[in-house]
Amino acid sequence: MELATRLPGTDLGSPHGVTTQDKYVHELWTVSYLFSVPIGLLVLGLILWCVFRYRDKGDGSGGGPGGGRTPAQFQYHIPLEAAYTIIPLVIVAILFGFLYSAENHVDSISKTPAIKITVEGFQWGWRFDYPNGHKQVGTVANELDINSEQNLPVLVIPDNETVQLHVVSLDVVHTFYVPEFLFQRDLIPGIDNTFDINPTTPGIYPGQCNNICGEYHAYMRFLVDVMPPSEFNTWYSQQAPNSITTAGEPQS
């Protein structure tokens, strides 16, 4: 099984994922960059300017270590202080505006998803339940080598469709995390979590539990196989209702 090699590119920290939701993430990154880089550079510049311009060069005549002069003892500048209180407030308000709209898009749940799959996490493995009762299962017991992606459980989903995932934990807190979806959601006992994914690019993407869940946390991995809908329908029709496919074991 070949992994998609295109892990979330850094693209100056402004990544592209493989779902329709990634548009909003990318947009937020861009907005954050537009504000934070200039502000960061401004503050950094001011700090460095102070250090180089006002460092004690030891040529003054005043007292104190280094013999530097005693500078003017000013302490307040109300207009300036007001400015650097109000301007950041405005920036934060604008950022919140972008954030609020993006969040509603990413978090929205469709009433008519193409397929609903239940994702169950447990110590230590994953089970993906399809509507017809077919289950894709994999546990760390079959995962002999961290360098091998052979025996990982596979979540097969179609692209260009709304896939609704219902995530459930069977014991402790786990997290369903696929880096290339730019998304994760916790599996917490007692909390019902549902979210939509709209993949756009077929491929095999690595996923992993992202919340410390005990000894074999690092090995609790899975793969997401995004297929074109026709291919997915063929695969899905081949899976008998209530059958179980266990990664690393011959098909039963």
Binding site: L7, P8, T10, P15, L28, W29, S32, V43, L44, I47, C50, V51, Y54, R55, D56, G60, G63, G64, P65, G66, G68, R69, T70, P71, Q73, Q75, Y76, H77, L80, E81, Y84, V92, L95, F96, V106, I146, N147, S148, D171, V172, V173, T175, P179, E180, F183, Q184, R185, D186, I188, P189, G190, I191, N193, Q208, I212, C213, G214, Y216, H217, A218
Partner: protein
């Protein structure tokens, strides 16, 4: 309070400087002095030394973590031991080093000196706090000596992984009790320091003349007073679950695992500012003294501290964005707002240096390191405060990089600034500038080499707390860099440790006021005598000592 009321209200003015009488009698020495002392300076030193040992120990654990991750599929330690390493690294760094070093160590030593008090308000209570803290440190570390090892579920111990069925053995219990004891000790210290600040200030030392360090200390103590009882009660619930068959966090019997996350982070976020505010205070004091200027925007600085303190009590669930069970817009708005007072502080620090005469010694270098790295950590913090981006970055190495830029590059560098700045006051000798500057350079390079690549690792999807990783994920080179950086940073820390020892015997004699200090701690001898002051200058501004030493450059009062 009643004793204070007996003070005469009207009195002729005999002299500007007054003497304090010192209780006569023999003073214990050696081990007896260490155990029985109720002097705030001795207890402060005890705290400083103990917490620094905690720092070195937790740092050693961190080197173990980085050694395990240096190459993919590494087997330096087992999965279980790895989990213990990062759990205890986090726990000890936060509960033993970063918090107590500043609020209990420097707080104890400096707050009474800075406000002109003879001691803390409750000296024996103070001693009790220290011993509880030491006991907590020893108990939580004792987990390593038990059969199943120390706690291994991460420093925020999400239930139900912490329940007896998933984490059997005494390691987890020792963690609960140990952290609980340090928490209890923190509450006692908070009560003590708040009372000291409220009732033992020298005449004329009104609230708005206290140094920024004392203000920050006070706000920190109020946060602690609110946060730690919540933690302690969460621990009590967890202990009942583990030992008395409770089901508070057990979903199968009607409990709510997410309750733990709410309780823990309601403590945890104020805790983050408990770990940051005193260090802001250190940086403020060092920059003002070394620039030979008053703190720029003194009142704005206090306002910023107060607003950070207030806001930090309403942002706990930004650690829980991905749980899908919190109000995202509310917490996002509150978290973004914290950026504003933090920004004010940055501009005030710049204003303090502006047109000053900055002595570029080691203490200032560490402060500048703090400014640069905390700035970076602050900016990544604004990114992480946005739920949609947090969905991508939560619990990845991006977070690890972010909070190490804030906690290590920020707070710990400020702690080193504090060490270099106040060591002469505590020992009477200056630390070696040569070793200090070398230590700073090595630490700065090592730190950035260690943690800067981790931002990229997080963007490439590397989860935190994984014991090993596949070679096919594109994480190999960055992890190698990061581990090398961790070793370099470790060497930098060790240089300062050598400096502490060498200068203790051979350092240059400091004198009472080596930096032309502005606040009262420099008005007494180095180290200060019992009950601190033989004489106090009149307090007419927030820089009484500067005013006494520079009568031609008085601090303007009330702007």
């Amino acid at each position: 309070m009643t004793l204070l009321e007996e003070r005469p209200q009207e009195h002729p003015e005999p002299s500007e400087r007054a003497l304090m009488e010192i209780i006569p009698g023999p003073r214990p020495h050696g081990l007896v002095k260490y155990i029985t002392s109720t002097d705030h300076k001795q207890i402060g030193l005890n705290y400083l030394v103990t917490s620094f040992i905690g720092f070195l120990f937790a740092g050693l654990l961190a080197e173990g973590i980085r050694t395990q991750l240096i190459v993919p599929n590494n087997h330096f330690v087992t999965e279980n031991v790895y989990n213990q390493l990062f759990t205890m690294h986090g726990t000890i760094m936060l509960f033993v080093f970063l918090g107590p070093f500043a609020f209990a160590g420097l707080g104890n030593y400096l707050v009474p000196l800075m406000i002109g008090a003879p001691d803390m308000a409750f000296p024996r209570f103070n001693s009790l706090s220290y011993w509880l803290y030491l006991g907590g440190f020893l108990l939580m570390s004792a987990g390593f000596l038990t059969n199943n090892g120390a706690a291994n579920f991460g420093w925020f111990g999400y239930a139900p992984l912490t329940e007896a069925i998933h984490s059997p053995g005494p390691g987890a219990d020792l963690w609960i009790i140990g952290v609980g004891l340090t928490g209890l000790s923190g509450i006692f210290t908070a009560v003590n320091i708040i009372t000291t600040i409220f009732t033992l200030r020298a005449p004329g030392m009104v609230m708005f003349r206290m140094p920024i360090f004392v203000w920050n200390q006070m706000v920190t103590m109020f946060l602690l007073l609110l946060a730690f009882p919540v933690l302690t009660s969460a621990f009590a619930l967890l202990w009942i679950d583990r030992h008395l068959g409770g089901h508070f966090f057990d979903q199968n019997d009607g409990g709510q695992p997410i309750l733990w996350q709410n309780l823990f982070w309601f403590f945890g976020h104020p805790e983050v500012y408990i770990l940051a505010l005193p260090y802001f205070g250190i940086v403020t004091e060092v920059l003002a003294t070394m620039s030979k200027k008053p703190v720029f925007g003194y009142k704005g600085m206090i306002g910023a501290t107060l607003s950070i303190g207030a806001l930090s009590m309403g942002v706990w669930a930004h650690h829980m964005y991905t749980t899908g069970a919190v109000l995202l817009p509310f917490f996002a708005a509150m978290s973004l707002l914290i950026a504003v007072p933090t920004g004010i502080k940055f501009f005030n620090w710049i204003g303090t240096m502006w047109r000053g005469t900055i002595t570029l010694n080691t203490a200032v270098l560490f402060c500048l390191g703090f400014l640069v790295m905390f700035l970076f950590g602050g900016i990544t913090g604004v990114i992480l405060a946005q739920p949609v981006l947090d969905f991508q970055l939560h619990n990845t190495y991006f977070i690890v990089a972010h909070f190490h830029y804030v906690m290590f590059g920020g707070s710990a560098f400020a702690a080193f600034a504090g060490i270099y700045y106040w060591y002469p006051k505590m020992t009477g000798r200056l630390l070696s500038e040569k070793l200090g500057k070398l230590s700073f350079t090595v630490m700065f390079i090592g730190f950035n080499l260690c943690f800067f690549p981790q931002h990229d690792l997080g963007l490439r999807g590397m989860p935190r707390r994984i014991e090993t990783y596949s070679a096919h994920m594109g994480w190999n080179f960055l992890n190698m860099l990061s581990s090398i950086g961790a070793y370099i940073a470790g060497v930098g820390v060790l240089i300062t440790v050598c400096n502490l020892f060498v200068s203790y015997r051979k350092g240059e004699i400091a004198g009472d006021n080596p930096w032309d200090g502005q606040t009262l701690e420099w008005a007494c001898s180095s180290p200060p005598p019992d009950h601190n002051f033989e004489a106090l200058p009149p307090i007419r501004s927030e820089r009484p000592l500067w005013d006494a030493n520079h009568p031609d450059q008085l601090t303007k009062v009330g702007h």
